[in-house]
C-alpha cells in the first residue's frame, strides 16, 4: 500500500502546549510568532534588514528589538497593524489579536518565554 504521509488537515502554526503559567505561555507563544513572522527582518546581524536599519539609525544596542526597555506593548501592536516606514502592516488574518498580544509580551518580556521552557 502506498505510504501516504501526511499529516492531513493540520493548521500551520501549532499552539504552544504544556505551559501552565498564563503569562509564560503567552510569551512562549509570542516567541513562536516572532520566530515565524518577525525574525527574518528583526533577527540579529546583517542579512536582517530591520536590524541593519535600526543599527544605522539608533545604534547596535537598539537594533535588536526583543527585550528593548523603551518599547511598549501598545506601540508594538500599533506598528504591527499599521506598518512603519519600510515595515509592512500585518493583518488580523495572519497575526491574530491574541497572537499579537503574545508577541508584544514576548518582545517586552522575553524572559517569560524562557521561564516557560522545561
Amino acid at each position: 500500500m502506498m505510504r501516504r504521509v501526511a499529516i492531513v488537515m493540520l493548521s500551520i502554526l501549532p499552539l504552544a502546549v504544556g505551559v501552565s503559567a498564563a503569562q509564560a505561555g503567552d510569551a512562549a507563544r509570542g516567541q513562536q510568532v516572532f520566530d515565524t513572522r518577525c525574525v527574518f527582518c528583526h533577527g540579529e546581524g546583517l542579512g536582517h534588514p530591520a536590524w541593519q536599519l535600526l543599527a544605522l539609525k539608533k545604534g547596535k544596542d537598539k537594533a535588536e528589538i526583543v527585550g528593548r526597555s523603551d518599547l511598549t506593548p501598545a506601540y508594538i501592536k500599533q506598528v504591527v497593524r499599521n506598518g512603519y516606514i519600510e515595515m509592512p502592516p500585518f493583518r488580523a488574518s495572519e497575526i491574530s489579536n491574541a497572537d499579537l498580544d503574545a508577541l508584544a509580551d514576548y518582545i517586552t518580556h522575553p524572559g517569560a518565554a524562557s521561564d516557560a521552557k522545561p
Partner: protein
Amino acid sequence: MNSILPKGVSKERFAAATGAMRKVVGDPWVILDENPLIAGYMDTYSAAPESSTAASAAVCPGSVEEVQEIVRIARQYRIPIWSISTGKNFAYGGPAPRTAGQVVLDLRRMNRVIEVNTDLGYAIVEPGVAYVDFYNYMKRHKLPYWIDCAANGMGGVMGNTLDHGVGYTAYGDHLLMQCGMEVVLSDGSLMRTGMGALPNGAASWPVYKYGYGPYIDGLFTQSNFGVVTKIGLWLMPEPPAFRPFMVQLQNEDDLYEVTEKLRPLKINMIIPNAAITVHLLWEASVYTTKHEWKTGSGPLPQRTLRQIAEKFNLGMWNFYAALYGLPEVVEANWQIVESTFRSIKGAKIYREADRKDDPSFNYRVRLMRGEPNLTEFSLMNWVGGGGHINFSPISPASGADAMKQFHMIRKACEKYGFDYIGEFVIGWREQHHILMLMFNRYDADESRRAHDCFAQLINDAAAEGYGEYRTNLHFMDQIAGTYNANDGALLRMQRRIKHALDPAGILSPGKNGIWPLGESPETNS
C-alpha cells in the same frame, strides 16, 4: 458609515452585502474601512498614493464553503471582490485591490497544508500557506523534500505560483511544478481541474496535469476568471549533494559573456536551477546604504560603484547557481561548470566555504536550497523610505539581449535620477530581467519620478519587442496594452472569456488589464 464604496454601489447595497457576508464568516472577519484593521490592506510600497487602491472592506473566509457563499453574495449584490492569498507580493501591490473601493477577499486564514505525499513528491496547499510556514511544516515532520521559495519568505506558495513567480532551486519555475487546481467560479460552484474532475480522481489529480480535454489551469493564473482555493505542487527530493557557487565578474560588459556561457549549461540541464546574475548594488545593500556613499539625489557614479565593489568583495555582476544530485554527478558537472566560467577574463569563483561569513552569499545559498528568508529586503534600506516597484521584462537568454536591456533600463533610471539595481533570473531558455526601482515614498517628487520612469520603461521595452511577465497594480493596463498584436486579439479574447465565466464582473476587476465588458480603467478611475 463607510467612506469608501465600490464604484457604482450605493451605501445601502453595500451594507446589505457586507451584512450578508458577516453571517457567513462571522463579525470579526468582515473589516470595513472604519475599522483600523483595514490599514493592513494598503499597498505601502507603490509610487502612487495609497488612497488610489484603498479597499472599502476586507472579507476573510475560513473555508472553501465560505468562499463559495461570499462569491454568491458578491454576485447577488454586484460587489467587486479582489482575491489575495497571503498578500505579500510587495513591489506588485501587496494586499491592495486594483482600484479604490473594491472589497478584498482575503484567503490568508485558509492556511492548511492539506497533504504531502512522500512517495510521489507532491503537496496540496490552501491559499494562505506562506513559504516560511510550508518550510517549517516540512522540517517539523522531517519530510525528505525541499520547497522552492521566492526571495520574500513571507510570500504565499499559491499566490506566487498563480502570479507566475519564480524561485531559485531546480524547481524554480513554480507554475511548471503546479499540478491540479481547485477553483470557485463566479456562480459559487466548485471545480477541480485535470484528473480532479473525476469523481474518484483524487489520487491522480496532483500527478498528471492535463486530464482530458483542454488544459485550463493557466486560465486561472494572472487572471480573474475564478477564485483558486487549492493547488497541487511538485516537490524537489532533497538531493544527496548540493554545491552552490558564485562567479564574481569584474566588468559590467562581462554580462554578455556570462549569459552566453550559461545558456548551453541551462539548456542541457547541467545547471538545473534558476541561475541569477546580480548587479553590484543589489548585493551591496546587504552591507551598506546609499547615504554612506553620496549625499543628495541622483545615481552613484562609476568610480563609487568600483569603490563599493572593492570594499565588500563583490563584482560589478555576481552570478549564482548550484548543482544538485548524486555526489559523483555533481563533481563531474562541476568540472564543466568551473572550466566554463573560469574562462571569463578576471572571473573569480567562490564556493560555500570561501564566503562563510558573507551575508549576501549566504542568503543566495539559502534561496537555492529553498530556505525562506527576507535578506533581499535590505534593498529597502538603500535609499530609505521603502518605496519599490519591480520592472520585469522577459527576453531570450542571450548576451545581446541582456546587454541591450541593461543599457536601456539604466539609461532611463539615470534620466529620472535613480540607481540601476537589477538582476537577471535565467530560466531554461529565457531570462527575467528584474529592475528593483527603489525610491523614498515619503518624497512626492521622487515617487512621481519613479512612476514616470516605470511608465517610460514599459514603452521603451515594448518598442524593442520586450514585454513584462508581471507587474504592479498601477501598470497592469499599460502593460496589457503592449501585448496588442493583431489589433489586440489576445486581450479581446481574455475579455470574452471573462464575460462568459463572470458575467457580473465581480471577480478581481482589472486584474492584468482584464476588465468586465463595459468597464475600463477610465470607468473605474
